[in-house]
């Protein structure tokens, strides 16, 4: 059994882990990484990146379907779902290789295998070639999360699949029930529907994308409805059983049959078998409890990313990775600003948001000013033929503080960032509107919505 000495061991190489490893290396620390799958984690291999490739395919298919609007006659085009999956695998492989390249560039050693904490300064890696022991000064745990299911429903990844199965399977079902209308649910509903599957989206809460602003839910529901995606909200699933064309979903609102069921009810932290209990590392609602410096209750053991709690987002994990690395290197990192993590959903139209919803802001007793600008009034959006959606700015009436921003529409996930920068700099509505926005751009809608919150919208 070989023993190796490093400054830091990073267990898990998803977006949190590989960013933490690289930042540690930049700060002069020697770094070992441990990975029992492929470098890049869920994000690069099975999550963010491959699904974005699939959604792009869905968008292209959608454009072909709309070709006549642009005066283009397309007869008999064929969209192969298998090839869409194959393309998304190529994209994922390429990005995962990029992580391996970055490790080599930063002289980070990768230990393939499963890592277990034996002590605060010892990580044992069990891989195909045996067991190795890493003696380190600090450990960063970044093991991520995995899809959850409903009680009593097993994910067989054949008839009842999770996102893990969906990104791998080249099979396009004729009918699909998606359980859960959060980001994962609506994205897959979009992809399968674009390829012609008959999709029903179920949500237990009263609206789809339920954590978003209510206006966003309504707008997305309208767009999905037009595309023939059936939405059933406020519906509780009682059971999922084999039968009919594949599975039968019993709900309190009736029975549904589909060839495939996609479970998208959330994700659970992967914390089992890591050796946390022996070190007295405490969990809080299933996630590892950490300090603002990302340190767990065990000194020198840090936890970042999905396992360290919501929001379960790659960019949050990356930010936490930097904080953990800098804390270990003796820097004084600025803690992650959890109130300013953008949330992005890449269905068509896209949904992006930041900060408080209008309802939440009012609940907190804020006297709010709201500005809303529809893309139907944006020259660029009309030229693109992408006029679904709006930009909505929720601000504090007295100070002009940007309390929340909610966008549905083309490139919403890109437009959101000017507001993220604004909030980081503590800009108020006035500073935002004094920023000249190029014409014609989709971002002009951001400017107009901000003006709207000041009661000064020009183009509305």
């Amino acid at each position: 059994m070989a023993r190796h000495t490093f400054d830091v061991a990073v267990v898990g190489t998803g977006p949190g882990g590989y960013v933490a490893a690289i930042r540690c290396a930049q700060l002069g620390l020697s770094v070992a990484t441990v990975e029992d799958d492929r470098p890049g984690g869920v994000c690069l291999n099975w999550g963010c990146i491959p699904t974005k490739a699939l959604l792009r395919n869905a968008e292209v298919v959608g454009l072909f379907g709309r070709a006549a609007e642009f005066g283009i006659k397309v007869t008999g085009f064929e969209a192969s779902y298998a090839e869409a999956i194959q393309r998304s695998r190529r994209v994922a492989d390429r990005m995962a290789k990029g992580v391996e390249f970055l490790f080599r560039k930063n002289k980070i050693t990768l230990f393939p295998g499963r890592g277990v904490l034996r002590a605060r300064d010892t990580v044992e890696v069990t891989g195909a070639s045996g067991t190795e022991t890493l003696s380190v000064k600090a450990v960063i745990l970044a093991t991520g999360s995995e899809p959850k299911s409903l009680p009593g429903v097993a994910l067989d990844e054949k008839t009842v699949i999770s996102s893990n199965g969906a990104v791998r399977s080249e099979r396009k079902p004729a009918s699909l029930v998606v359980i859960g209308a959060g980001a994962v649910g609506v994205e897959f509903a979009d992809v399968y529907a674009a390829y012609g599957a008959e999709v029903t989206l179920l949500e237990a809460l009263p609206r789809i994308v339920p954590i978003e602003d209510e206006d966003c839910s309504k707008e997305l529901a309208r767009a999905f409805g037009r595309r023939g995606i059936a939405l059933k909200t406020g519906v509780k699933v009682a059971s999922v059983k084999p039968g009919g064309p594949g599975a039968i979903v019993e709900t309190d609102g009736g029975k549904l049959e589909a060839e495939l069921v996609l479970m998208a009810v959330g994700r659970a932290a992967k914390v089992a078998g890591l050796g946390l209990e022996a070190l007295g590392i405490v969990l809080d609602r299933g996630f590892v409890k950490v300090s603002p410096r990302m340190e767990t209750g065990a000194k020198g053991v840090y936890a970042i990313g999905d396992m360290a709690g919501p929001p379960l987002l790659a960019h949050k994990a990356m930010a936490e990775g930097v904080v953990a690395a800098e804390a270990i290197a003796g820097r004084d990192p600025r803690p992650v600003d959890y109130a300013n993590v953008p949330s992005c959903t890449y269905c068509r139209p896209q949904v992006a948001s930041l900060g408080a919803t209008e309802a939440k802001a009012r609940e907190h007793g804020r006297d709010v000013a709201v500005g809303k600008f529809p893309f139907t009034a944006s020259g660029k959006a009309v030229a693109l033929g992408e006029t679904d959606g709006f930009v909505k700015v929720v601000a504090d009436k007295a100070t002009g503080e940007l309390l929340g921003v909610h966008i549905v529409g083309p490139e919403a996930t890109e437009i959101i960032h000017e507001f993220a920068v604004g909030r980081t700099l503590e800009a108020t509505l006035e500073e935002m509107v004094h920023t000249i926005h190029a014409h014609p751009t989709l971002s002009e809608a951001a400017l107009e919505a901000t003006l709207g919150a000041l009661g000064q919208a020009i183009h509305l």
Binding site: G400, E426, E430
Partner: protein, 424 residues
């Protein structure tokens, strides 16, 4: 490049001079805006003095142990290439210089901050070739986020008194909110009380008030005091305190904490007591920033516990104790040295039955608290033993009259005598 004068900062309303305890930077050291240059002993506390501009600390003009008047030039920060000979040869720092120091006003005022620098401030930065915008904070310019500036203007926080915790010492929203809710950065997190609208209102003087204001100082300068005394039955408060202090994992609560909490609530009911004389107006404060007198070997300091009206009894207990400890350790921040709207002085621990305190201008009143004594009291059935405490309110007659003080005291007494209200 900008040259930054380092002057003796005015750290409290009363401060006239300060002594450098020690320099933490030496000549030739490169400093950034926000770096701590030296520790300064004022008449009240030891305070850290920070650099308001970046460059090299070229010259130290006041050595450790030296006492210099507020505003006097004590050092120069400039780039090595800058010519500072004229500055060093120049006259002793004029009175205008304090603009380079954290600003003076003890009572926060609503004023546009970070507006165009005044001519006096311009002179400090010596714009030789072109008036370049100095990096970081230099004289007169406060480095603060737009949102921090707006909240400060609306809540009456003086940005110049704050130490920013944002990048490069930038004052951010959190700094202003903490200053306006408690003036302390390292306190246990509490929800900031929701404050709507400005922190005070200026009520025009009535003709009678104006006359009183004009005449009273002549009778007893500079603040015309009058005193109102009341005896409070503390039996129930005493019992309640013993019960509370028997609870595990709860902060220990003192009689003074009861008084602070009760006074804060009563001040909200009687804002006319929570008021300052402003010459042509009476400024009525809407928040109770209470100065709590702390006796030291060599004198008295009244650090400020902010927003007592929004704090629970336990919170007051914890924060008042921490404040007293920091006062004794001389580790107060500049924001804790000033800004009180009302003060409480308690000599109960010295077994003082009652006394009168001197008002701490610009506050309009101060409450003097005696000890809780066991005394014979007349009860329905005859003579019994009760716990009594004497309260004496010293009032500024320019701001209020006897009946106002009496009504305040009456309500304060009621609260203390039915102390369950202090828990909700």
């Amino acid at each position: 490049m900008a040259i930054t004068k380092v002057v003796m900062p005015k750290l409290s309303e009363a401060m006239e001079s300060g002594k450098i305890i020690k320099w933490l930077k030496k000549e030739g050291d490169r400093v950034q805006a926000g770096d701590i240059l030296a520790e300064v002993e004022t008449d009240k506390a030891d305070v850290e003095m920070e650099a308001f501009g970046g460059g090299v600390l070229r010259k130290i003009l006041a050595q450790a142990g030296e006492k210099t008047p507020v505003g006097a030039l004590i050092g120069v920060i400039a780039e090595p290439s800058d010519d500072i000979s004229a500055l060093l040869a120049g006259a002793p720092a004029p009175a205008a210089a304090p603009a380079a120091a954290p600003g003076p006003p003890a009572a926060p005022v609503v004023a546009p901050i970070g507006a165009a620098p005044s001519p006096a401030v311009r002179a400090v930065t010596r714009p030789e070739p072109a008036p370049a915008v100095p990096a970081g904070v230099t004289a007169g310019r406060v480095k603060a986020s737009p949102l921090a500036k707006k909240i400060a203007a609306q809540s009456g926080v003086d940005l110049r008194l704050l130490q920013g915790t944002g990048p490069g010492g930038r004052i951010i929203r959190r700094d202003v909110e903490q200053a306006s809710t408690r003036g302390v950065a390292a306190m246990p997190a509490t929800t900031a009380p929701a404050v709507a609208g400005p922190e005070y209102e200026d009520r025009p003087l009535s003709p009678i008030r104006a006359t009183i204001a004009k005449r009273m100082p002549l009778s007893k300068a500079p603040v015309p005091h009058f005193y109102v005394t009341s005896e409070v039955a503390m039996d129930r408060a005493w019992e309640l305190r013993e019960e509370l202090n028997a609870l595990e994992d709860q902060p220990k609560i003192s009689i003074n904490d009861f008084v602070v909490r009760a006074a804060a609530l009563t001040l909200m009911k009687h804002p006319e007591i929570n008021a300052s004389f402003q010459g042509d107006a009476v400024r009525v404060w809407r928040r109770a920033h209470i100065g709590i007198a702390v006796a030291l070997e060599d004198g008295l300091i009244t650090p400020v516990l902010r927003d007592c009206q929004a704090k629970s009894l336990a919170q007051i207990a914890v924060e008042a104790r921490a404040l007293a400890e920091r006062t004794r350790a001389r580790k107060l921040r500049a924001t804790e040295l000033s800004g009180a709207t009302f003060s409480i002085s308690n000599l109960g621990m010295f077994d003082v039955a009652e006394f009168s305190a001197i008002i701490n201008p610009p506050e309009g009143a101060i409450l003097a608290v005696g000890s809780v004594r066991r005394v014979p009291v007349v009860e329905d059935a005859g003579l019994g033993v009760g716990r009594r405490m004497m309260l004496t309110l010293s009032c500024d007659h320019r701001v209020m009259d006897g009946a106002m003080g009496a009504r305040f005291l009456q309500d304060l007494k009621r609260l203390l005598e039915a102390p369950l209200r202090l828990l909700v």
